[in-house]
Symmetry: C2
Subunit: 342 residues, 2 copies
Amino acid sequence: MANGSKDPKQILTARDVAQLMGVSTSMISRAFNPDASISPAMRKRIIEASAALGYRPNVIARSLSTRSSKIVAIIVGTLENPFYAQVLEKLSRELQLAGYQSLLFNLAPGQDVDSQLPFLVQYNVDAVVIVSASISAGIANDWTRSGRKVILFNRTLPDASIPSVCCDNFTGAKLAVDHFVQTGRRRLAFAAGRRDTSTNAERELGFISRLAELGKPFAAKADNPHCSFQDGYNAALKLAADKPDAIFFANDVMALGGIEAIRKELGLTVPDDIAVIGFDDIPMAAWPTYSLTTIRQPLDAMVESAVDLVSDQSGADELKVVHPVQLVERASTKATSDEKVP
Amino acid sequence: MANGSKDPKQILTARDVAQLMGVSTSMISRAFNPDASISPAMRKRIIEASAALGYRPNVIARSLSTRSSKIVAIIVGTLENPFYAQVLEKLSRELQLAGYQSLLFNLAPGQDVDSQLPFLVQYNVDAVVIVSASISAGIANDWTRSGRKVILFNRTLPDASIPSVCCDNFTGAKLAVDHFVQTGRRRLAFAAGRRDTSTNAERELGFISRLAELGKPFAAKADNPHCSFQDGYNAALKLAADKPDAIFFANDVMALGGIEAIRKELGLTVPDDIAVIGFDDIPMAAWPTYSLTTIRQPLDAMVESAVDLVSDQSGADELKVVHPVQLVERASTKATSDEKVP
DNA sequence: CTGAAAGCGCTAACAG
DNA sequence: CTGTTAGCGCTTTCAG
């Protein structure tokens, strides 16, 4: 019972360590603060003692003082699209490496970012990264004005000066058209994603404008609310009415759904009857059954840019980073029958 | 320039609101605290004024006082398996609904939980949910003893008294065996996952013991370090040497890889030549190409249990929740040729 | 039911 | 370089 020395709260504070070492608490604070004036010897002593005692500065208390929490909020929608699961994983990992922790906010289907932001202010987050969701320009500007960082990932907002990192969707779509044309396709169709996202709008614009540049006809287009596998499946069926010999899907998940529909429902083959190109290059695109030609987003580079923006002290606004894309050719667009996907 | 009233820091504190309303800061604190003694009228007035002014209590400051942050840490490994992406999504969403925020910790491939835990203590997290990763009994006990909650999701730790939520892996595996046997399969093989996880060990045990109960022979078994698509692919090839007519994979992702190998590499069909069962019931299992029979984990119920454990005040330790599983029959085990997966 | 006062654990001037 | 003194914004006794 009578545990003589201390109450059993088990967890040390800076003052405990200070008393134990016979120094002031400021000293122990400084020891953990890279650019504080403290003698190397003292710092070493403190760090070592802390390690031995198992003391670690309380981040909560620290952020109350500094008004900077070293935590960044990541706002994501559903993770059912593996691409976003990858984004989240890499982003949070890289942020960790850069010394940040990630507070995860899941947007329920109907929810919009704007309504969630006020919530975040309570957490003193240093930045919020919005992955593939939209935010209204007004709110975004309010936030950046109040000294907080907002970074869009995979979206841009033309009329607001918030930093964003994207890939070159426009060029990506053009690459798809060119590849179709080079491999002899004539009737190109497009399975669009949600109309209200910059990403999809850019892909659609790239597709259509390139087709126009080449003087090629445009077979058909289908719109899709959710960008899901099922949407891709349905889109392929709808587009089939116009007899396309190639379909560009706004993302890989939709393309996989499309391939399923082409095979199972229409009884056609890919790529012989219909060639298919997707966008993202998710791991599944490489699976033999699909072997999907796609436009690869340079995810690592994009994540790196995002982390740079988060940790950037320069306060440079209006930073819109655009990464180049690359077409990855697989069987879903090859015409030679020995390589075709059955 | 001369913005008379206040400095432009934009963000209100309890004291600001208190002064504006001519009450004490304690009052505004109480207004936001459900079980504090305050007159309903006063509370109403304060809540309304706060809403109008855009004031929200600062969570950081609050958790410094209360030593409870209303944030829970979720520790996950890779999200490349869609099942875990789903877990993360649902878990964080439900926690949000229950008033918690999720701090996400990504374990790099080599990293173990033990080394990360000390890190978490800094954040005053109310609980940590460890998803599909292992933790040593010693550390786990230390944590629970120091008043913090640790909850294992999809793992158990027999020799430690930490709460966990799992599905009935053992029975699930038995169901798979029974289903194979009932549909006339004779040479059953098992593609195991990592040996060092309770989940996989239970599945393996269930499979083998049921086979023994039935007096059936055991065709073959392959071990796999990563439980990935590629692992499943390789496992199928290795197991093929023993000519099984049915393979049970430790999870769906592996099963999908196995199906690919069976079709593309071995030139056999599913289910005619080899029937396949997976585990988890990820969305892809239902895709027509795979139409994978699988053991469904009741994810919603499991997440609900986890949230209950997090918010449970009863302090009841030694809570190991096990949810029943269910076999979902699809084409990968049907023998009738009109339904077979070509 | 309400106000005053004393912290939570840390950082940030300010002296020495 | 080091110690002292105030807070960060909120909660929580303790009086009244």
